[in-house]
């Protein structure tokens, strides 16, 4: 099986993202807009901010990951190149995973890179920063996977965006619970390993099953 076209698809997606510039930076801007609004909304007290920091950073990251979902498959669907995925010799699930990986590189990775800054803005205790980054590393790929599934399911509808967030939010509740649980445990001086273990289990589950569901949903939509 020749998989050499997968890096080509990845490079194409990344090149498109770079050339669209502003659009692909939107999730990051959105994240920081939320994180700036939080202290202004609930008051600048460091104790209060430190206690809600894990939840706020995670909620902001979750909402930010929704932003780029609308165009994950739609342009390819509209110009017909999505149908070519089934005509070529490549496994479609591989193409799907490549596309989801590029989505994570564009929306998830920047959030992780800027997590230390976000943690500072909300006075997250220093010892929890490592766990925050780790939870984002494990958790944001799940957001991309589940988001990709919602994007694939709503592809054939013409009012995708509202529906998309309704579909994503119940499915990512466990991610939010375990990720913020891990960071809060670390901030309070407890071991975050149980939460991180469950989060990793969710990642493995999503990584193995979601690409198949995405492929099935895309297939139904182009029929």
């Amino acid at each position: 099986m020749n998989l050499s076209a997968l890096p080509a698809l990845l490079l194409r997606d990344l090149r498109l993202a770079v050339r669209h510039g502003g659009e692909s930076l939107m999730p990051l801007f959105f994240l920081f807009a939320v994180l700036i609004l939080v202290p202004l909304g609930v008051g600048p007290g460091p104790n209060l901010l430190a206690s809600i920091a894990p939840g706020m950073i995670w909620v902001a990251a979750l909402l930010a990951s929704l932003l780029a979902l609308e165009n994950l498959f739609r342009p390819d669907f509209e110009d017909g190149s999505l149908e070519q995925w089934w005509l070529g010799h490549l496994p479609v699930t591989g193409l799907v995973m490549t596309r989801l990986f590029s989505h994570w590189l564009i929306t998830g990775l920047p959030v992780i890179l800027f997590a230390p800054l976000a943690a500072q803005m909300l006075y997250l205790p220093g010892e929890a920063l490592g766990v925050l980054i780790l939870s984002l590393l494990i958790g944001t790929p799940i957001l991309s996977l589940v988001g990709g599934l919602a994007a694939a399911l709503t592809l054939g509808t013409n009012r995708g965006s509202v529906l998309l967030s309704i579909l994503v939010f119940p499915l990512v509740v466990p991610v939010l619970i375990f990720a913020t649980g891990a960071v809060s445990a670390a901030a309070d001086g407890f071991s975050p390993r149980a939460h991180l273990g469950l989060l990793t289990a969710l990642l493995v589950l999503a990584l193995t099953l979601v690409p198949l569901a995405v492929t099935a949903a895309l297939r139904l939509n182009i029929e």
Partner: protein, 251 residues
């Protein structure tokens, strides 16, 4: 021989006119059974069972709360089984039936949450707690709503049903979470007191009304499911021959 007859019968049921005819025969029986079981169940629940020594009469809401909660989950499992059949064998009737499970399941989830909230106010002192059982039930409600929304968003209803069936299967992960939430997390909501294996910790006098109400709710689910599916079939096939023939017969 018997197996073959059953198989042919099952395949015939997949055809809309046959399903329409057969479900019309079954549905009144389900409704009748529902009415009977509800009357018996309510009689036991309101007159026969003694008041609780701590909660006095207010615990009687249990006889609606628990059957509704069970049905909210059982309805999802029924929907998931129908979704598998719909996706694998592409039987249109099961696609429609799977989609028609969603609003009924959502209604039972809402009943469960509302009665739980009313019960929680005097007993726990709060309408709502962010406890694992309650939260996972709320998530179930939103999964149901998502399925309904997705189905409704497609212009081609067959395609909508099939796509929504995939979402149904993805949402199945929530069912074990709801079931085990009271065991995995120590929460405000009590643990399971009724067990099929081993001894129940609920007083035996409370069992009859609960059993009757549970059967009543299951029959009602079946009746509403059949009636909704018939209506949906009639609506989708309104330009087809068999519906015109049917409507011609009845008018």
């Amino acid at each position: 021989m018997i197996w073959k007859t059953l198989k042919v019968g099952f395949h015939r049921l997949g055809s809309p006119p046959t399903f329409y005819r057969v479900s019309a025969l079954i549905s009144p029986w389900l409704w009748g059974g529902f009415a009977l079981c509800t009357l018996i169940g309510l009689y036991y629940a309101l007159y026969v069972v003694p008041p609780d020594y701590q909660q006095s009469d207010s615990y009687r809401i249990l006889f609606i709360h628990v059957p509704a909660a069970w049905q909210a989950m059982a309805g999802y499992i029924v929907m998931a089984i129908l979704a598998v059949i719909a996706l694998v064998w592409r039987i249109r009737t099961t696609e429609i039936m799977a989609m028609m499970c969603a609003p009924i399941g959502a209604a039972f989830t809402l009943i469960c949450l509302a009665t739980g909230s009313l019960w929680g106010r005097p007993m726990w002192g709060t309408w709502w707690a962010w406890d694992a059982r309650l939260t996972s039930m709320l998530v179930l409600l939103f999964i149901y709503l998502g399925i309904m929304g997705l189905y409704a968003a497609f212009e081609d209803r067959r395609k909508g049903a099939r796509v929504a069936c995939i979402l149904v299967l993805v949402g199945v992960v929530n069912i074990p979470i709801i079931h085990f939430s009271v065991e995995w997390w120590t929460t405000l909501h009590q643990g399971a007191t009724i067990r099929f294996f081993g001894e129940s910790t609920m007083h035996y006098s409370m069992m009859p009304p609960l059993v009757w109400m549970t059967i009543a709710v299951k029959l009602m689910f079946g009746a509403v499911l059949l009636d909704r599916s018939r209506n949906e079939l009639l609506d989708q096939d309104r330009r087809k021959g068999w519906v015109r023939q049917k409507v011609g017969e009845e008018t």
